[in-house]
Amino acid sequence: MSLTQLVFWTFSALAVVGAAMCITRRSPVASALWLVQTLFSLAALFVVLDAQFIAVLQVLVYAGAIMVLFLFVIMLLNLGRAGPSDLKGPAGLAVATLLGGLLFFQLLRGATPSAAGTRGGNVMAQLQEEQGIVGAVARPLFSQYLIPFEITSVLLLAAIVGAVVLAKRKL
């Protein structure tokens, strides 16, 4: 097993364990912190998969900003202590296991990489060698995908206004 594979499987295991703990812990704070572990492990997987820029964004935006937002809301609502379990009863557990398992096997069946997926060899590594790690993502982002990029700013503005309006006690 090569080093890349070793790193990949280690962080995959960490991500899956973090996700499993996240959905089973009673305290929302514990759930959030296990989710942070999953997000960090995913960032490491992104590095293995030649997406270093996306990995940095993952740590900054997800693990840094979004999870802090979650923890702040948990703190504001004073939900930190594990109350009575909010897991659904045996029926809920059965439904969740059944549907989750079914979905997993369906996804796995569709996830066998076809010839089309591996045809080009490692395109990203080539691109990064030619244009640099950030350049490979930034160049198309500011040329081919410029309009979606600009529309994102409008989306974020709408989100800011919406969050303030919704969360304010009295306008």
């Binding site: 990949f8 499987w9 995959s12 899956v16 996700a19 996240c22 959905i23 929302p28 759930s31 959030a32 989710l35 999953t38 997000l39 995913l42 997987l45 293995v48 998969l49 997406a51 996306i54 993952q58 935006v61 979004i66 937002l69 504001l76 609502l77 939900l79 909010d86 897991l87 659904k88 809920g92 439904v95 969740a96 549907l99 989750g100 398992g101 979905l103 997993f104 996804l107 996830a111 066998t112 990489p113 997926g117 591996t118 045809r119 080009g120 490692n122 395109v123 990203m124 691109l127 993502v137 198309p140 982002l141 995908y145 994102t152 989100a159 800011i160 919406g162 969050a163 919704l166 969360a167």
Partner: protein, 98 residues
Amino acid sequence: MLLGPSLAVSAVLFALGVAGVLLRRNAIVIFMCVELMLNAVNLTFVALAQSLGVAGQIFVFFVMAVAAAEAAVGLAIILAIYRHKQTVDLQNINLLKG
């Protein structure tokens, strides 16, 4: 090339996210499970971008922007619900129940 294993890990994470949404009643934890599903899809995009070109990574960039906006608005909604009902347990939020 780790395309196959990446897609498998992504499937596991997505299924765990769905199971979490079905299993929990705390609105905030359900919201975290939705974030988990978004991340599973991001992993798929990045794995496929490795051999199919940079478009996948750019899509992940947009997914992250939308997820950040969604988290801000969603958590504001949860705050508003808590102010109204004093709970975030979805069992007690049944205004639309027939």
